[in-house]
């Protein structure tokens, strides 16, 4: 048995030039960014940055050129993601459109849908969000109660989605709706791509514990969408949404989203750091290096056309744990007054607060371990 069959990452020959081009781009577009914003960069919305990134060809990298894509190789895109995350670039605005919504449209969408959305996604000017969770659903994503009723004029949507990241800056939501009346659980669900400026849609902020606005509640009050808003097949929504979630598996974001803190701490220390701090850095670097090996192996496997469900869940679980523990490990050894106002203290304080949420990313710990257990044949 080898649970994690290691797949060699054959880096593209132009890897170094991809990196140096991107680093130059970042130096130009993020010259004096507040370090605190580089922490947990993956959730940081910066439309201007996303647009610049799109203009430079770093979005929709794998998509056909007819939709504004750049027809690059999967591992070229992987390198771009690595660099963006390691640099703490604010990738939150376009993240879902580029990672999930776009690829899903290429797989299940109509020609009309592709033409309408993909060029904007690739340009970094249009953003998307995911409508899965509903009040009280928690991890039970199949307990969908929001409904879609078919009429001659189109579909009429009613209900409520919650914890929708970025709905307030997004142009469209890919939502899972119950399209067959009194169907249950996974059956009778369909996906709709909904323009969020339609009448009857209300977006209310959910303010998080720092007073910032990432999450939203989105209410649908008899919203009429055209028939063309249905994505894929009617009644196949669960299967498609599962495939959409699987697209979360592609990237290095599980262990690099708060790399900025590690880099900042290292720079603050210098070679005469205390033995305890030095050892802690060594431990974190060992974990980070190993996670990179694992993440690259998953990326390589995906690029070769295999969907490594178990391996990807393993990387997510371990990556979440790593990023959750990193700020606490640093706090345990760093001699710093967190209220001293320095960049490092602010960065550390921010990540200390956010870090407990990392074990909820991409499915809670229990769900990820459940997927692994299923892959091992235990359930």
């Amino acid at each position: 048995m080898q649970t994690f069959a290691v797949h060699p990452f054959e880096a593209p020959e132009n890897a170094q030039s991809i990196r140096s081009d991107l680093r130059a781009f970042l130096a130009q577009h993020q010259p004096d960014k507040d370090p605190v914003l580089r922490a947990n960069c993956w959730t940081e919305f910066d439309p201007a940055f996303s647009q610049a990134l799109g203009a430079a060809g770093y979005l929709g990298m794998l998509w056909p050129s007819q939709y504004g894509g750049h027809e690059r190789l999967p591992l070229e895109r992987y390198i771009v993601l690595e660099e963006l995350l390691a640099a703490g670039a604010p990738v939150g605005a376009h993240w879902i459109a580029d990672r999930q919504t776009g690829p899903l449209l290429l797989r299940y969408g109509t020609e009309e849908q592709r033409e309408k959305y993909l060029p904007g996604f690739a340009a970094g000017t249009m953003y998307a969000c995911i409508g899965l969770s509903e009040p009280g659903s928690g991890s039970d994503l199949a307990s969908v109660r929001s409904s879609a009723r078919k009429t001659d004029a189109g579909w009429v949507l009613s209900g409520q989605k919650v914890w929708t990241t970025g709905a307030h800056i997004s142009h469209a939501m890919l939502a899972l709706m119950r399209s067959e009346e009194s169907s249950e659980r996974q059956s009778g669900l369909s996906q709709f791509l909904i323009d969020l400026d339609l009448p009857g849609i209300t977006i209310r902020p959910i303010i998080d514990m720092f007073g910032t606005h990432h999450f939203n509640e989105v209410f649908f009050d008899d919203v009429l969408v055209p028939h063309g808003a249905l994505v894929g097949k009617e009644g196949e929504g669960w299967k498609q949404a599962t495939a959409e979630l699987a697209l979360e598996r592609s990237g290095p974001e599980r262990y690099l989203s708060s790399h900025a803190l590690l880099a900042a701490v290292i720079d603050s220390l210098g070679p005469d750091a205390s033995a305890e701090v030095t050892a802690t850095i060594g431990r974190l670097v060992s974990e980070m290096w190993t996670l990179r090996q694992m993440s690259m192996s998953v990326a390589a496997k995906l690029a070769s056309g295999v969907d490594p469900v178990v391996e990807a869940s393993i990387v997510k679980d371990l990556g979440n744990t790593f990023e959750q523990e990193m700020p606490l490990a640093i706090q345990a050894v760093l001699d710093a007054d967190l209220a001293d106002g320095s960049d490092l203290s602010r960065l550390l304080a921010t990540l200390l607060q956010v870090s407990p949420s990392f074990s909820l990313r991409g499915g809670t710990r229990e769900i990820l371990r459940g997927i692994i257990a299923r892959g091992l044949g235990l359930r």
């Binding site: 991890s139 606490l328 345990a332 407990p356 909820l360």
Partner: protein
């Protein structure tokens, strides 16, 4: 718990619960009126005459209710001023490290410098703790500092406060976790009925228990050895343990809560964000593990056990 302490706890519990979400100035009035500032001042000087176990009880409740007021620093300052034969007019706080909670509100501050305890004030630059509470740097006016001629382990006392607050905050987080998972249903049954949720909450209870016992052990040592520094072993052991308890406990509390725990409206973050800051205050893990380790190596293997038992045995 003695009857006196039970009454004290009841009063503190009620008062702090009522203060939640209120204003600093109201707190000051109400806490002052209730006489908490004089908790450690002897009855002969019209104080409450409490001991360190009483302070632990009060600070545990302050932690439980996320009290947004520098109560511990104030109680300690009042006691040390009394030790020095003085009395405070304005709000006096004790400072154990460079930044001070609500330093901007303080009249004077008690600080240690070159082995002396000084009463001093200075210019405040506003800052904040990871929990978003005021925590200010003070540029002291050393020329006008008054030496008090007393001995006290200020840094250790701050550590002790944080241990007690952590004990209360972890118990409160546990209570929220039990309540939340009992109410929320998933897959048709309450979250609290899932084995993995139960195991996580049990582990949270274990960490809360460790912090509570550590706080009591440190209080007992202060009662026995005084606040001049002789209780440093127990305070250090308790602070280090409570730092671990925060690390494990805060993550578990959020884990069983899911997304709701990170919203502004839900009270969990009032506990966990404060605790995250406390891990760095009064000594982080590296600070205390180095000192406890060095002390232990000085005692030796058999000596460690001798000391640990002798320090709790009568006589």
């Amino acid at each position: 718990m003695s009857e006196n302490r039970e009454q004290l706890a009841e009063m503190a519990d009620g008062l702090f619960a009522g203060l939640r979400g209120g204003e600093f100035d109201t707190f000051q009035t109400q806490i002052g009126e209730a006489g908490f500032g004089l908790l450690l001042v002897p009855e002969s000087s019209e104080g409450f005459g409490g001991d360190w176990g009483d302070l632990a009880t009060v600070m545990r409740l302050a932690g439980k209710h996320a009290l947004a007021w520098p109560l511990g620093e104030h109680i300690l300052a009042a006691r040390l001023l009394h030790d020095a034969g003085r009395h405070a007019d304005a709000l006096t706080l004790l400072a154990g490290e460079s930044s001070i909670p609500w330093g901007r509100e303080a009249g004077d501050v008690l600080v240690e410098r070159d082995g002396q305890i000084l009463l001093v004030s200075g210019e405040v630059s506003a800052g904040e703790s990871p929990a978003g509470e005021p925590r200010d740097m003070v540029a002291y006016d050393w020329d006008r500092a008054v030496p008090l001629g007393i001995e006290a382990d200020l840094f250790g006392l701050i550590a002790f406060l944080r241990v007690c607050q952590t004990a209360g905050a972890l118990d409160a987080a546990l209570e929220l976790a039990i309540e939340h998972t009992g109410q929320r249903e998933q897959f048709g049954r309450p979250l609290s009925k899932f084995q993995s949720v139960q195991q996580s909450i049990a582990l949270l209870a274990v960490e809360a228990a460790a912090a509570n016992c550590a706080a009591q052990g440190a209080a007992a040592a202060l009662d026995r050895f005084g606040h001049g520094g002789d209780a440093r072993f127990e305070i250090g052991a308790a602070k280090l343990r409570s730092n671990i308890a925060i690390k494990v406990g805060a993550a578990l509390a959020h884990q069983v809560h899911g997304a709701i725990g990170f919203t502004q409206d839900y009270p969990l973050h009032e506990l966990t964000r404060r605790m995250m800051g406390w891990r760095s205050e009064g000594g982080n893990d590296a600070y205390w593990s180095a000192r406890l380790g060095a002390q232990t190596l000085e005692w030796g293997g058999q000596g460690l056990w001798d000391q640990i038992t002798r320090r709790t045995d009568p006589g």
